[in-house]
Symmetry: C2
Subunit: 389 residues, 2 copies
């Protein structure tokens, strides 16, 4: 090795999902592996008009701007969060390059090497990557069909004194599971009781196809221990790289400092363009349209699984989001089956990589948002044939 | 304090420049403090067309994309660097959210707490902020009108074993000084001899108003110890947040990993939009236009200083860039004079903040790119009156 890297580099690993995605580019491959929205549903014309408008007169749209973000966009986000029961002001909102960057900034502020992060088992892989890159250690809490077990959660806090808690309570990546409302109230209370910052990562909230919205954990947070993260990636488009983090003043000041050092500020043009889209175009109708189509795709996938998968498989039936989670019989290994699957032109993500401390060998994640119903049917048939053997 | 932050947070400080900029927003203030390009010269119409084109048909412009960046843009950057004598291939280029992010990623990869970074005295403040946020320590090398002293540079490497070297050799922020070609060859050789990665931060290269280009340090680099950073902020617009870093394979792999964890990738739309602008619009003519205007502003400022400043002041006369650097008589304190200056409606940046280990109390930085010639004249008159007292 040519270089003497810093110690943290030993722990940085490429996302195995990205490696899988490289082999799923062939046109006849049916890939349930990625976590991609459906590009054919992107509001291309609306975004085009919104950016044209942003670039029509004021050159400030191309100038350096403040680290916190474009004030009207932050105010829009405040009113959006208010509809979900979160009280905040513009000064509590920092605009980031997607919510992934917010995770990186929060972790930079809290994690010394060896510090504990409390996570769900399984957890969003991109978050585990960030925590690892700051040399965090993990305590992982078991989940059921209503999210994490609250008793195990409290015990883990008492025993391990985590520096951070990380939850994706709504239509979670990778399982699609939503944390029940009473558990949300409980975890908000426990974060405050033990004074541990709790990151609520909530990008899928608006992708609900059935049932009523569940309030954010942040809406139960009376003493500001919940850090809320949102994103425009799933409701507009991820290639814009636009998300936000909301928290109270002292932490916000540090987040702004960290962001300033990291990349000065999020792009001025992209913030103004997206703001124009949000206020001048029918974002509600757009979200309705993607909900209708993703809901249809979810239904097709679930129905096909019901028909094709053997009785000793189990899987989640989430009311929203982009993912289903399949559990094979004990002893099966979804990782070693993947090579065969790819040969047969269907791809998924082995579940084990979402377990920070091992486990989950007999699980796998399926994405339904990025494939047409016809492909979903064909892909589940291929999978069923393969997995049943 | 509510939170238990990580140790590195103690060292994060707000850029004092940003604090100064907050008081320089009033309309009758003449500010030489910021490092802003002139917004009236931004190619607004060209960018508008280029983004419209990007958004005209292919929805992939709004989708997630690879971490390395948009391949045609990376190929454009390769040919651009080739014109400056740098040999690279697209696989050696990573697109970042401005070159500030490249600095953050490089530092994350190399710096353990307490590691030494070798910097110039004075140095770009944004870089010092990044290095501090990873708990680096500084060894600073004296500079003269041809850049750093090569003997002092070698001695410092031998004595302090730095993990990184950071130089902005061309029209440096804050002094405007350019490192002489023979010194460039020497420092490239010394970086290789002692096996220390040398970051060449080169955003001002094309803002040359007089004289011939000096080859990048990277062009003298036979064994890949120089990491080259470039930016579109100064030649197109900073609000796009688009820069790049070029290096060899092993380090590039790690940079891609670090970028993946930090924010997945740079915005797909902004990369494609800027690429369209670069290939379909006359970027050469645009650069000529900003060079002509910035050169005029530089001349006006220097002429006014010649006429107004007392003989015991000295200042740089750079052939390019955006800044001049003034040295007041020994014993003067530009920091304590700033309050008075702001009262008299003229602002600058005290030089001391560019010195990582103290010093420079009698120096100050003036920006000439962001003020019209009329304002430059009036502002220098105000400054001369104040500083002479």
């Amino acid at each position: 090795m040519k270089y003497q890297f810093a110690e943290r580099v030993d722990l940085m690993k490429s996302s195995a999902i990205r490696e899988i995605l490289k082999v799923t580019q062939e046109p006849d491959m049916i890939s349930f592996a990625g976590g991609l929205p459906a590009p054919e549903l992107f509001p291309l014309a609306g975004i085009r008009e919104a950016f044209q408008e942003a670039l029509s007169s004021d050159p400030a749209v191309l100038q350096y701007s403040n680290t916190e973000g474009f004030l009207p966009l932050r105010e829009y986000i405040v009113s959006k969060m208010q509809q979900d029961g979160i009280n905040a002001r513009a000064e509590n909102v920092l605009i980031t390059n997607g919510s992934q960057q917010a995770l990186d900034l929060i972790t930079k502020l809290f994690i010394n090497p060896g510090d504990i992060v409390l996570v769900e088992k399984p957890s969003y892989l991109g978050a585990l990557q960030v925590f690892r890159s700051y040399q965090a250690k993990f305590v992982d809490i078991a989940t059921d069909y209503e999210g994490i077990n609250v008793d195990a959660f409290e015990l883990a806090i008492k025993e391990y004194h985590p520096k951070l808690i990380y939850l994706t309570p709504t239509f979670k990546n990778p399982t699609g599971v939503t944390l029940a409302a009473d558990r949300r109230r409980a975890v908000a209370g426990l974060a405050a009781k033990y004074k541990v910052p709790l990151i609520e990562d909530d990008p899928y909230r608006e992708l609900r196809y059935y049932g009523d919205p569940v309030p954010p954990i942040k809406s139960f947070d009376g003493s500001d221990w919940v850090i809320y993260m949102g994103s425009f990636s799933k409701i507009i488009a991820p290639g814009l790289r636009l998300g936000w983090v909301a928290t109270e003043g002292e932490l916000m000041d540090k987040l702004v400092l960290a962001k300033q050092g990291t990349d000065l500020h999020t792009g001025t043009l992209v913030q103004r363009g997206v703001y124009n889209y949000l206020v001048n175009h029918n974002i509600k109708a757009h979200i309705e349209a993607i909900r209708a189509e993703y809901g249809r795709r979810r239904d097709v996938m679930l129905q096909q699984m019901d028909e094709q998968f053997p009785k000793n498989f189990s899987w989640t039936k989430p009311d929203g989001g982009m993912f289903l989670w399949v559990t094979l019989p004990e002893g099966a290994n979804s990782g070693s089956l993947l090579k065969q699957a790819i040969k047969e032109k269907v791809a998924y993500v082995p579940g084990a990589m979402f377990f920070p401390n091992g486990g989950g060998l007999n699980t796998l994640r399926l994405n339904f948002s990025n494939s047409t119903p016809v492909k979903i049917k064909a892909g589940i048939q291929r999978l069923a044939r393969l997995l049943t053997e």
